[in-house]
């Protein structure tokens, strides 16, 4: 604070302080819920998609492949616009989403596709001997998956999934374009009245950075816990 005030005018300081609460509100009521809900749904989609991909059943792996290809091959912004403006314009009541819901749908679909590739790779990285050992004591495919393969695959996938999660925190700023009042939209609204874009956008950026920093600390803790059973 002291450091900042030495090269910011007192007017600037007031703007920073006044905008902090609205920005924080954007974080707490939209940025964080949007991230958490989308990531949770996305993970379920991702695990399902990964299992479809490795199922060896043509129809299922085909569906998974097409889904991943479409999502990875199109910009997230376009996906958001299709879900919110595109579907909303069809005249079908059920497809008119609240901005927040539309954002959750788009982000979940997006996370699901990317994370499914991560999860698929980590399942495939588990040695064949683990499947055989679990089969040999009588486990079914699903039991092996649940008790032996997925727990180990989880460890492998924590670093890349953390990347996706941290990425998602920042990508929620795109929801500003479909009228979700998350932090970045709040920042834009503030700038529209104060005309201090540098100041307020840097402030918003700093808040994103703090969130991501805290998340990477958390990631370190989770990794440490997950690595308890491997030689370091």
């Amino acid at each position: 604070m002291f450091l900042l005030s030495s090269f910011l005018s007192s007017e600037d300081m007031t703007i920073l302080q006044d905008s902090f609460l609205p920005l924080l509100k954007g974080v707490l009521s939209y940025t964080i819920p949007l991230t958490l809900i989308s990531f949770a749904i996305g993970l379920i989609l991702a695990i399902t998609t990964a299992l479809f991909r490795i199922s060896g059943i043509k129809v299922l792996s085909g569906i998974a492949r097409v889904y991943v290809s479409i999502i990875r091959g199109t910009p997230l912004l376009v996906q958001l616009f299709i879900v919110f403006y595109g579907l909303g314009n069809l005249g079908v009541e059920a497809l008119k989403f609240e901005p927040f819901v539309g954002a959750i749908i788009a982000f979940s679909l997006n996370t699901g596709a990317y994370a499914s590739e991560t999860i698929r790779a980590s399942i495939l990285s588990i040695e064949k001997g683990q499947w055989e050992a679990s089969s040999s004591i009588g486990m079914s495919y699903l039991q092996s998956l649940r008790r032996v393969i997925l727990p180990q695959a989880t460890r492998v996938s924590i670093p890349p999934l953390s990347n996706s999660f941290i990425g998602l925190v920042k990508e929620t700023s795109l929801a500003s374009t479909i009228l979700v009042s998350e932090m970045f939209r709040k920042a834009q609204e503030i700038v529209a009245t104060t005309y201090t874009p540098l100041l307020v956008y840097v402030e918003a950026g700093a808040i994103y950075w703090v969130i991501c920093f805290l998340l990477s600390v958390l990631q370190g803790k989770i990794e440490k816990r997950m690595n308890r059973y491997v030689k370091t």
Partner: protein
């Protein structure tokens, strides 16, 4: 106890087991020897149905699988529970402690209560000399200790037959003894065992019968003293000369 009838197995065009028949009586220990690629592992894996033969049938105790007919996954699982498999590379579950590795089969497959499964696992681990290593992860164990956990894990599902695929060949020489000792103990208890190994001393001391496999066939079989000292077949003689060196 085991009755293998006319088992044939191929991978693509490669015929790995050619019309193999094999009987093992209850309580007997059969050792299989043979050159690399002769099909020893595949034979054991067929007994555990990790591989499905194209032809033939296997009976263990009362249960029979006929491979010329379609067998369901459930049938295979049921059948598989009669054999306990010990792998060359241990294949322990790295995310479980020693005792959890042993409890896993009873808990997940046999639906035994956790406390009871633990009690049993502790008993078995004590028997294989690992009562002090119960709560450690596999990476904290030596190869010999890991393999003994592997044996304990296989025993925990109360199999009627124990299958060992070169259980000591990945071990440093000084660790081989402790694993063989556990296996001798099991044999002395009257367990039915099929063991792929090139440990001649073990075979001589413990085996009731030794099979020599080559090229997907059982070339010769007999009591260890007879087969090792007076082999009839030329290929057996050559192979024994090789491993005695």
């Amino acid at each position: 106890m085991i009755n293998m009838n006319n088992i044939s197995k191929q991978f693509g065009d490669l015929v790995v087991l050619k019309d193999i028949s094999l009987q093992v009586e209850q309580g007997k220990v059969v050792v299989i020897i043979g050159p690399s690629g002769s099909g020893k592992t595949t034979l054991l894996r067929c007994l555990n149905v990790l591989e499905q033969p194209e032809e033939g049938s296997i009976t263990i105790d009362q249960q029979t699988l006929k491979f010329s007919e379609k067998v369901s996954k459930k049938e295979i699982r049921e059948f598989r529970r009669q054999t306990g498999m010990v792998f060359q590379t241990y294949n322990l579950f790295p995310h479980f402690t020693a005792v959890e590795n042993v409890m896993e089969g009873p808990i997940t497959v046999q639906k035994v209560a956790k406390a009871k499964a633990r009690e049993k696992a502790v008993d078995i681990l004590t028997k294989v000399g690992l009562h002090e290593k119960m709560e450690v992860y596999p990476y904290q164990l030596s190869g010999g200790q890991q393999q003994r956990v592997g044996i304990a894990r296989a025993m925990a599902i109360d199999p009627k037959v124990m299958l060992f695929d070169e259980p000591t060949s990945a071990l440093d020489p000084e660790l081989v003894g402790e694993v063989l000792q556990v296996m001798k103990k099991l044999a002395a208890e009257g367990r039915t065992m099929v063991v792929v190994t090139h440990e001649m001393s073990f075979a001589k001391e413990v085996a009731d019968e030794v099979l020599f496999m080559d090229n997907g066939m059982i070339v010769e079989r007999g009591e260890p003293s007879v087969l090792f000292e007076h082999p009839k077949e030329e290929r057996t003689k050559q192979f024994l000369k090789l491993i005695k060196q």
